[in-house]
Each structure stands twice: as structure tokens, then as C-alpha cells.
């Protein structure tokens, strides 16, 4: 029986953006181009720039997309920056994003990838 492979040195980038503006897709494409592998997303409700359109100044809930991307430390700043730029988060009300540390991840790593990693580790040790 094979052992579970634990990955460390990882971070979770979470972005909360408006569904209506379709920023999520642009941000995911940017993250992928910057080297992020995989993502997860779900809908949520919150407040945004559209709340001012509510009658009598009453805030209106707006649909949000929440995207989460797992990245390594090397990728973290690069992926964060390209997602921020792609989502246009420098504009007021466009959304927000944050990074949280991950202590450990367990997932399926194909044997071929494990072999390559072990080989690279051996080479580094020999240098």
C-alpha cells in the first residue's frame, strides 16, 4: 500500500469578486498563466459597489464569486499580483483578496512525478 504524500510550503490565495463583472474567469486565466495548478470556487453573497442603487439608500446584497487557489511559496507573490491586476482590484468596490498559510496538504501525486522529484532531490544532494 502506497504512503500518502504530504506537501508543505503552500499558501491559499482567496479572492472575493463580483459575479456580474465576470472578473473570476479573467483572474483564473491569469493565475493559470502564472503557473497556478487548479482552483476552486463557489458563489457567495455580500456587499459591493452596486449597493448604492438600492431604493432609499438601503444596501442590496450582490452575488459574489469566491475563488481559492493553492500555490507554493515561489509562486505566491507572482500569482497574487497577476490575479490582482487581472481582476482590476485597484478600483473601489471591485473586490478583495488575501493569502493564508497552509501547514500541510495531502493529495494524489502520480508515481512519475514522485520519481522525478526524488531524482532531482538526489541530484541536489550529490552537488
Amino acid at each position: 500500500m502506497s504512503k500518502i504524500t504530504y506537501l508543505t510550503d503552500a499558501w491559499l490565495i482567496t479572492c472575493v469578486v463580483s459575479t456580474a463583472t465576470k472578473q473570476a474567469e479573467k483572474m483564473l486565466l491569469a493565475a493559470r498563466d502564472a503557473g497556478a495548478k487548479g482552483a476552486l470556487g463557489h458563489h457567495a453573497r455580500g456587499y459591493g459597489e452596486r449597493e448604492r442603487l438600492g431604493a432609499l439608500g438601503v444596501a442590496v446584497e450582490t452575488d459574489k464569486d469566491v475563488i481559492e487557489v493553492l500555490v507554493s511559496t515561489e509562486q505566491r507573490d507572482c500569482v497574487f499580483e497577476v490575479m490582482y491586476t487581472a481582476g482590476g482590484l485597484d478600483k473601489p468596490g471591485a473586490g478583495y483578496m488575501y493569502i493564508t498559510p497552509i501547514e500541510r496538504i495531502a493529495t494524489y501525486v502520480p508515481a512519475s512525478v514522485m520519481d522525478r522529484l526524488e531524482e532531482a532531490g538526489r541530484r541536489r544532494g550529490a552537488l
Binding site: 500518502i4 491559499l12 463557489h42 501547514e103 495531502a106 494524489y108
Partner: protein, 135 residues
């Protein structure tokens, strides 16, 4: 208002005073939408007495799907469940391994489990003596 500000100050300083709780870990399990989330929560409740868990639906783009996607396009996402379990720090490693085993993480398409810190969490207990719901 003053009370709220005092509480906020205490939280920013570290552990809030007068609020029961302890440092915990948050385990998130991303699993296929095949009932694994319910099975995980049932296992934790029945075998370990952990009830501070919830699950939600989400769409995921997996690593292998990204590799197969056309340039400039996102691959078709798949429906998954994210189960979030708050566990005491002392039990975190044991429960993390139990979840990985039970969810069969080490197979292709099995999903992933990750662990992150939750510096302060209030306890969650259920009332005693309530009858079990019918399944």
C-alpha cells in the same frame, strides 16, 4: 460601542479574555460530490466526537484538467464539496490522517485535504439526550 472596541482590542492583542476557547486547526477536504463529505462528517461525529464541521458545494478545476485545456480557455469545472472541520490542535495530526485515509485521497481524482491554523476558536457542543434523526 466601548465594549465592542474593548473586545476588538483584546482580540487584536491575542486570546480574547472571558471567551471560552482554544487554539485549533482548520482542516479542509475537497472531495468529489459523491457523498464523501457526509461520510467524513459522520465518521468524525461517531468515532471521534467532532461535530464542528460543515460542507459546501463548489466548482473545482483540477491539475490534470488544466493540463488538458486548450490555450486561452479554462477547462470545464467539476462539481465538488468542501468540508471544513475545526479540530483541537492536539488532535489535528491524527484527524488529518484519518480523513486522508477515509476519503481515499491518494487515488487519482480523490481530491485534496489541507490543514491551516485557527489561532482561537470557541467550543461547539450539542445538547445532550436528543434522539438521533432517522436516516
Amino acid at each position: 460601542m466601548t465594549d465592542n472596541r474593548q473586545i476588538a482590542d483584546r482580540v487584536l492583542r491575542g486570546v480574547p479574555e472571558g471567551v471560552p476557547g482554544e487554539p485549533c486547526k482548520l482542516i479542509s477536504a475537497v472531495t468529489p460530490d459523491d457523498g464523501t463529505d457526509l461520510s467524513l462528517m459522520r465518521l468524525l461525529r461517531e468515532k471521534k466526537g467532532v461535530v464542528s464541521a460543515s460542507s459546501r458545494a463548489c466548482l473545482t478545476v483540477s491539475v490534470l484538467a488544466v493540463a488538458q485545456a486548450k490555450p486561452g480557455k479554462l477547462p470545464e469545472p467539476s462539481l465538488s464539496r468542501v468540508t471544513e472541520i475545526l479540530v483541537p490542535e492536539a488532535q489535528a495530526d491524527e484527524l488529518f490522517e484519518l480523513l486522508c485515509e477515509h476519503a481515499q485521497i491518494k487515488r487519482s481524482g480523490g481530491g485534496l485535504v489541507f490543514l491551516r491554523p485557527a489561532p482561537f476558536c470557541t467550543p461547539y457542543t450539542l445538547p445532550q439526550g436528543l434522539p438521533e434523526e432517522e436516516r
